[in-house]
């Protein structure tokens, strides 16, 4: 007798692991997933599953980032990274909702939230997939600036993919709403830049996530400077390091 494909057990439901399965649905069948959001089918269940899975994946990646410094940094980054994304969501979702509403969308706030959470889920699973890579470089290199830039690159790529997903989702959902469609498209593109800007500034505000080597653990650093200046500074140091070497 041959056994069939392995059966997930009752334990999966007991421990709530089935929430992680939402990722499968989003990635393999995105069109139908967005249609379901558009129709308002099981929105609370979807949002809960996306929230739980995103928080867990962000926390794990944050822990990897923080592991470059100390145990406290590991724990604090594991907590701060999900907070970073959720805080960005809270700051940005009203603008998406009201601007869309202004230009003829008939989506509810819950639907707007669900679509953004979908983008976050994609970003979080891409970060999760990057976690082994980050861990590898953490084990094999001691270059702080390189490690910082690597993380910026992984975040940028994951975030961009999430935003592209969001754009595709909004297109699918507003497919039947012809009136104001072009304007809403430009509103969405503008909002995507706002989201990236708010997200990067939010990250700068609640830093550090990695922790400078040799420095004591800090939960938050002094405000001042900005994310883009720091990235350029890191790039300069890293390139200077390469040239000098």
């Amino acid at each position: 007798m041959e056994n069939s494909v392995s059966e997930p057990s009752k334990a999966i439901r007991q421990f709530g692991f089935q929430d992680f399965g939402i990722i499968e649905k989003i990635l393999r069948n995105r069109k139908d997933f967005f249609h379901e959001i558009h129709e308002g089918i099981e929105l609370p269940t979807k949002m809960r599953a996306m929230f739980i899975s995103s928080v867990c994946f962000f926390a794990l990646y944050g822990a990897v980032m923080g592991s470059s410094h100390s145990l406290w940094q590991t724990l604090s980054s594991a907590v701060k990274l999900p907070i970073l994304f959720m805080a960005t969501l809270i700051v940005c979702v009203p603008s998406l909702y009201f601007f869309s509403l202004l230009f003829g969308s008939n989506q509810s706030l819950g639907q707007s939230l669900a679509v953004i959470l979908t983008a976050f889920s994609v970003t979080s699973v891409l970060l999760l997939s990057g976690a082994p890579i980050t861990l590898f470089f953490l084990l094999t290199t001691s270059q702080y600036q390189f490690f910082k830039l690597l993380n910026v690159a992984i975040f940028a790529i994951s975030g961009l993919m999430g935003i592209v997903f969001l754009y595709q989702g909004m297109k699918v959902m507003s497919g039947s709403e012809k009136e104001g469609a072009t304007t809403r498209k430009w509103v969405l593109i503008f909002w995507m830049f706002v989201y990236a800007f708010v997200g990067s500034q939010m990250a700068w505000t609640i830093r550090p996530f990695i922790g400078a080597p040799g420095s004591p653990f800090e939960l938050f650093r002094q405000l001042g400077g900005n994310f883009y200046g720091d990235v350029l500074r890191s790039l300069g140091e890293f390139l200077g390091y390469l040239i000098v070497r």
């Binding site: 007798m1 056994n3 069939s4 059966e7 997930p8 057990s9 009752k10 439901r13």
Partner: protein, 129 residues
């Protein structure tokens, strides 16, 4: 979907579990047995049987394995211990539901010994030992 179809759909898991308690069966056999034993009353949409079977397997109520019988490979389903417990619970719920429904009808104009259409004698089945 008509009301009757909805009621039938709601009894799918119960019917399948009851049937599989007798012996392991494959999908086509399950459909045939349900139709035959109900005299065609439960005419389950065949394509919806397999999602139900797979869902119950994921819930841990059924186990499955591929068997070669008479040169044909088929996927047989059997009820697990958990499935037996679930069947017992569902059987009790159905019994209670029917008892309460007909108790209510008995106090109403659609109860037995009445001239209205649909009224008739109903005797609740004795609970299994």
């Amino acid at each position: 979907m008509s009301q009757l179809d909805q009621m039938r759909k709601g009894s799918t898991d119960f019917l399948i579990l009851s049937l599989l308690m007798k012996r392991p069966m494959y999908g086509y056999e399950i459909i045939q047995q349900i139709e035959r034993q109900s005299g065609g009353y439960f005419d389950m949409k065949e394509g919806l049987l397999y999602p139900a079977l797979h869902r119950m397997q994921q819930n841990g109520w059924l186990s499955s394995d591929w068997r070669s019988v008479d040169g044909r490979r088929r996927k047989y389903y059997a009820v697990t211990k958990l499935g037996e417990e679930v069947l017992g619970e569902q059987a009790a719920e159905w019994r209670t539901f029917l008892d309460q429904l007909y108790a209510l009808l008995g106090a109403n104009e659609y109860g037995p010994n009445n001239d209205r259409p649909g009224a008739g004698e109903y005797q609740p089945a004795p609970a299994p030992e």
